[in-house]
Amino acid sequence: MIVSAVLGLVLLGLVLLLALVLPSVTSNTIPFGVRIPSRYAADPVITRQAHLYRRRVLICGGIIAAAGVVSVAVTGQPLLLPLSVLVLVATWYGCFFLAHQEILAAKLAGGWFEGLHQGIAVDTELRTNPPRFPWLWLAPAVVITASTAVIGILMYPSMPQTLAVHFGANGVPNRVEAKSVGSAFSLVFLQLGLTAFLAGIAAAIVRSRPDLDPARPMGSSRWARHYMSLGAKALLGLVAMIDLGLLGSSLLMWTGTVTRWAPLVIVIPVLASVAATVAVLARNNRDRSENEEDTGLTHRDDDRYWRGGLIYVNREDPALLVPRRFGIGWTLNFGNPRAAMLLAGVVALIGLVLALRFAG
């Protein structure tokens, strides 16, 4: 229980930190998901909203964390802490939306885009000579998955006749299954599925369409190339660490080891690599190249395609992955039918894992 409570608090802290840092690492021409011309980037309305947002997030985060700890202490139910993370995320969005609405209102009232030439910049070289898929970064995940399978095959004869396939919050197995290929290798199948899925997303990232700044297209394109490559590498590093956690969990299952620290074997590599990925991308999230002559064009006002400032829905746009507006990395174009298919694929994958775990 202590382990789960501490992990819940760590997660809460990380989400809170991310919420506080995000306004500083997102593009200064899209403050709180509102597209603005660069000359308004330091407008007092934006500075004030950023300040209010941080204060609200900090106060709400403190209250939610305290409420989470107290409720766990009173009820003894450690699952209340992950639940409070969800409450924090919802509150975070609320704080974002308040700032978004205020900046949007100021932009419309002030006619910030009036008289400006809106443009679209494209770098054809990102198509004719796209960033290469980082195959080397896929190697660790493939090697770990293959090793897990080989170790599993070698250990199969000596494995206990019943395998613990699910653990309670206290680390004690609460469901066991008879030894079979399906039960013993369930985590290997999960490794295979996750590696293939996340490698697919990494491939889509290096081919995705960047959002170039028409005012400084050259520097913007150089940065986009770097960021896409970094994003793909980070994702492949993440899947390697998840596979490592699953290797550790498989070993515990195959040797019949019961320990209260079992959840840490999977949670620590995953949490550490998620934190590292977010940190690396956050540091590089903003295009900082400045030494380029301004072309006089400004990015086109595309607010209407972003529902609530966060969700991209554009049926006219064939792109599937687009850079996130407020946040780190990429998001789906929910106006694209393929986005629905991709989500269905994720649900099917989760369904398959659950089915494998409950089968036999």
Binding site: H117, A121, V122
Partner: protein
């Protein structure tokens, strides 16, 4: 190469795309054999109808500057030295030069301005104009 389209300009988008590709060839950013993205890909990157890009590519093909091939998209062709300039080139140049003269520029000023522009193109080094 960067193509930067101005949505508020009077010049149609297909014309802007065509003009910027011609300029890239003149500057040497695109050379013989340089690939250009397929029409649908470029249209998707701009978020515009693919007929618009098609129109730009078609103009360039008619002018003999690019070759369209199925599958690979478009490729910049060799500058054909024996090929005459399009018939309307003189007319367009005449309008531009007339504008300069009407605004009071002397012939020397106009020639100097033309020289500076030509010098900014990489291709100008190869064709030693008097």
């Amino acid at each position: 190469m960067i193509i930067n389209v101005d949505l508020a300009a009077d010049v149609p988008i297909y014309q802007q795309i065509r003009d910027q590709i011609v300029e890239a060839i003149a500057h040497g950013a695109l050379t013989e054999g340089s690939p250009l993205p397929p029409t649908r890909t470029l249209a998707a990157d701009f978020g515009i109808n693919f007929h618009t890009v098609n129109k730009a590519y078609d103009l360039l093909r008619q002018e003999g500057l690019i070759r369209l091939s199925r599958g690979t998209g478009a490729v910049v062709t060799a500058a054909a030295t024996d090929q005459l300039l399009p018939s309307d080139w003189t007319a367009r140049a005449k309008t531009l030069l007339a504008e300069a003269v009407a605004r009071g520029m002397t012939a020397d000023d106009v020639l100097q301005a033309c020289r500076t522009l030509l010098d900014s193109f990489g291709a100008a080094d190869q064709e030693d104009t008097p």
